[in-house]
Point group: C2
Chain length 205, copies 2
DNA sequence: GTCTATAAACGGATAGAC
DNA sequence: GTCTATCCGTTTATAGAC
């Protein structure tokens, strides 16, 4: 199914199929470890078993590769966090779903989801503007959710914007300290994490 | 602080005086904006009004420059946050001082304090080990403080390590969203921030 | 599709004049 | 102390053979 899907995508949106997807995924992993600027095309070529020139058959250039990776990460967040969350009417329950969904993307995906947090400065102005707009829509959802909680009297006596930033800080910082081979499992972390994050902003929780 | 002390330090530890300090400060600001790898020696030279060759009179090399900047940032945190905090016996009051002191360094200093959060990967193994050790001692102070709060029954039912990481996440993330020319002043931010951060980990606060 | 070869620019760093 | 000139490695990207 993935194969046929990619053939459709080739015709539809100019992608080059699953080999290209493989390059994106490997590149995301390397850029996540070494940083975008410190990652050379040769690093990526070696990791996928092609020459430097060879991978240019699949990509437009280094910066565009980064943009594709970030777009993919945003697709994933939209699909797995934002869209499900928008279907939930109760703001407290919606916030819970957002926090857990977002944190689990970082714990279980890594790569692309981390790159989008760290490498905005490497994008061209047009690409940066596009990614920023998508991030902004997500941020607004969270801030509005916190705003609804304030209306219900469930928020602490704080600025909803500051509360939203702190929530993102806790969640996104996970990518800096979580190690898949460490003592703490994703499930253990999520249990404590949700308690801490919800109490940070909610009166009772 | 480094500015006033620089004459003393020149005699004491081999630094080159206030012009070197100026280079460090300017370099920290540029690296903070563009990232270490994307910052060229020419960027720094232009900003201080020297040629690329000229600044090598004051620095050992690019990586060492980064190490000096990070060492300076750690000196600042040690002097203004860690040392004062260690003198406080009550863990809840000590945690308050750490959170406020650390957050204010980010809000009011920027540059060097931000670089140390983002560019560890660019250091040589020996330098990275040295900075990591200093960061680790600071982290241990925070975790032990949280441990004392747990003993006193003031901590929520969570792992002190996860609590410490989340605290650092909220604090360090400030560098990602705070803008000196924005609507929120450091004092406004600190008021809400302390309430959110303390309630994140403490039972009553 | 994938390669070898190479272009063209830029990087950090140094030599040596002044 | 600061400059000009330059070395030399590395970078992204392309041309063109197979």
């Amino acid at each position: 199914m993935a194969i046929q899907e990619s053939k459709v995508k080739t015709a539809v949106d100019g992608r080059k199929g699953e080999r290209a997807d493989h390059i994106y995924r490997v590149a995301a992993e390397i850029m996540c470890q070494k940083g975008y600027e410190a990652t050379s095309m040769k690093d990526i070529a070696d990791a996928v078993g092609l020459t430097k020139a060879g991978i240019y058959h699949y990509i437009v250039g280094k910066e565009d590769l980064l943009f594709q990776i970030m777009s993919f990460a945003m697709d994933m967040v939209d699909e797995n966090v934002v869209t499900p969350a928008r279907k939930i009417a109760d703001p407290e329950q919606r916030l819970r779903v957002i926090i857990e969904g977002h944190a689990r993307r970082i714990l279980e995906v890594g790569g692309a989801v981390t790159v989008i947090l760290e490498e905005m400065a490497a994008l061209t102005p047009a690409h940066r503007k596009a990614i920023r707009a998508r991030k902004r829509r997500y941020f607004d959802l969270v801030r509005e959710t916190i705003g609804e909680l304030q209306t219900q009297g469930k928020l602490r006596d704080v600025d909803p914007t500051v509360a939203a930033f702190n929530l993102f800080g806790m969640i996104n910082w996970i990518s800096r300290w979580y190690r898949p081979d460490g003592k703490l499992t994703p499930d253990q972390i999520m249990r404590d994490f949700l308690q801490i994050a919800l109490n940070a902003v909610l009166r009772n929780a």
